[in-house]
């Protein structure tokens, strides 16, 4: 049986050293690495250098966010608690927004399910100022708004916005932010 050259062994061990130091190798693989390190000073040197880098990253200074962050978040939570939840839910598994909800104004049935009766059928008009009962819509993600109302003459492409916030502001509705 042919012997594995030492250089090949070193290369194999060095390729696994990071995983070894991270304790992600199986016990058997770890033993193999340790046995090699016992007699190979070159690989011990590589391990030391690697340890130094790992330690240096681990010991990078950690900064603390400002104390105001907590207060800002708490204020937001209170606001969230006292407003209807219409936001697209996040998926705990993926960490991203669940599949975007159908366009609010794109399909009549969808739009009417979230709007108060007095705003039903208003389509994009909800983006203007209107007096109505409390309503808050927060939508994150891409939202495509094809026009529901008869399109004015001339080409008018559907508007794409990334974020839409409609809130009641002193008895009127106001579009806060679109991007």
């Amino acid at each position: 049986m042919s012997q594995i050259p030492e250089s090949a062994k070193c290369a194999a061990v060095q390729a696994e050293l990071g995983t070894y130091l991270d304790a992600e190798l199986s016990p058997e693989q770890s033993r193999t690495v340790e046995q090699h390190l016992e007699f190979c000073s070159a690989c011990r040197g590589v391990r030391l250098a690697l340890e130094l880098v790992r330690q240096a990253v681990r010991q990078l200074p950690r900064r603390e966010p400002s104390a105001a962050l907590r207060a800002r978040l708490q204020a937001q939570l209170q606001q969230e608690l006292h407003t209807p939840e219409l936001s697209a839910p996040l998926s705990p598994q993926s960490g991203e927004c669940a599949p975007p909800a159908p366009p609010l104004w794109g399909e009549a049935g969808q739009a009417r399910s979230v709007l108060p009766p007095e705003l039903e059928g208003q389509g994009n008009a909800v983006l203007g100022q209107r007096s109505a009962t409390a309503l808050r819509i927060i939508y994150r993600g891409s939202l495509r708004l094809p026009p529901l109302l008869p399109a004015p003459p001339g080409p008018k492409p559907a508007q794409t916005i990334r974020r839409l916030i409609v809130i009641r502001d002193s008895g009127t509705y106001r579009q806060l932010q679109t991007r």
Binding site: G18, V57, P61, L69, E80, L81, P92
Partner: protein
């Protein structure tokens, strides 16, 4: 007592609108999320905004949380996606400039602070230089390399967790870590050569 509860229990309570439970989660993880976003984005103000947005999203999704999912992994998945969104918005493909303001004793990790306190001025200087070398080297890494190093070495996550967060196989995490560490090692070696000359 709440402070001793596992994340998953706190999150289950938060799902029932328990803001105190959520506040415990925030207190426990805000620093980690902030430091991760700070190292990825390189600027403390956006990093703080992202931290806030991250926890807000967790709150908004509280009723959909499944206790089978590890909270920390989920939290960092959200944080990472926010970072990526920011990168896209900025249209910056390479590392951006990080804050290189002078070190403040309050910001130094307790381990390093103890080490520094017991060291001589030469050692302190070397430690700070090394830290700057590593910081700069991290900034030059592509984000896919940088994030695995931060999640592994700063946050102490397992490969499987990182794979879940960055949505790639464990083998890819391993190879990215190796590549990133080689680059960091190269930077440290270059610095040592400089200092020895």
């Amino acid at each position: 007592m709440r402070n001793e509860w596992p994340d998953e229990i706190l999150m289950t309570r938060a799902a029932q609108d328990d803001t105190e439970a959520f506040d415990c989660l925030f207190a426990r993880h805000q620093s980690a999320v902030f430091n991760f976003t700070l190292r990825m984005i390189g600027d403390s103000m956006p990093a703080e905004d992202l931290t806030q947005e991250c926890f807000l999203r967790v709150w908004q999704a509280r009723r959909h949380y499944q206790p089978t999912a590890q909270f920390r992994t989920w939290l960092f998945t959200i944080a990472r996606r926010l970072v990526l969104d920011t990168w896209k918005k900025r249209e910056v493909a390479t590392a951006c400039a990080a804050e290189t303001d002078a070190l403040d004793g309050r910001h130094v990790s307790s381990e390093l602070a103890a080490h520094i306190a017991s060291a001589n001025p030469q050692t302190i200087l070397m430690a700070r230089e090394l830290e700057q070398v590593i910081t700069r080297a991290l900034e030059t890494l592509s984000e896919d390399l940088r994030e695995v190093v931060l999640l592994r070495d700063m946050e102490g996550m397992r490969y499987a967790q990182i794979a879940e967060i960055v949505d790639c196989p464990v083998g890819t995490v391993k190879s990215r870590l190796n590549a990133a560490r080689k680059r960091l090692q190269g930077a440290v070696l270059a610095w040592r050569k400089e200092t020895e000359e």
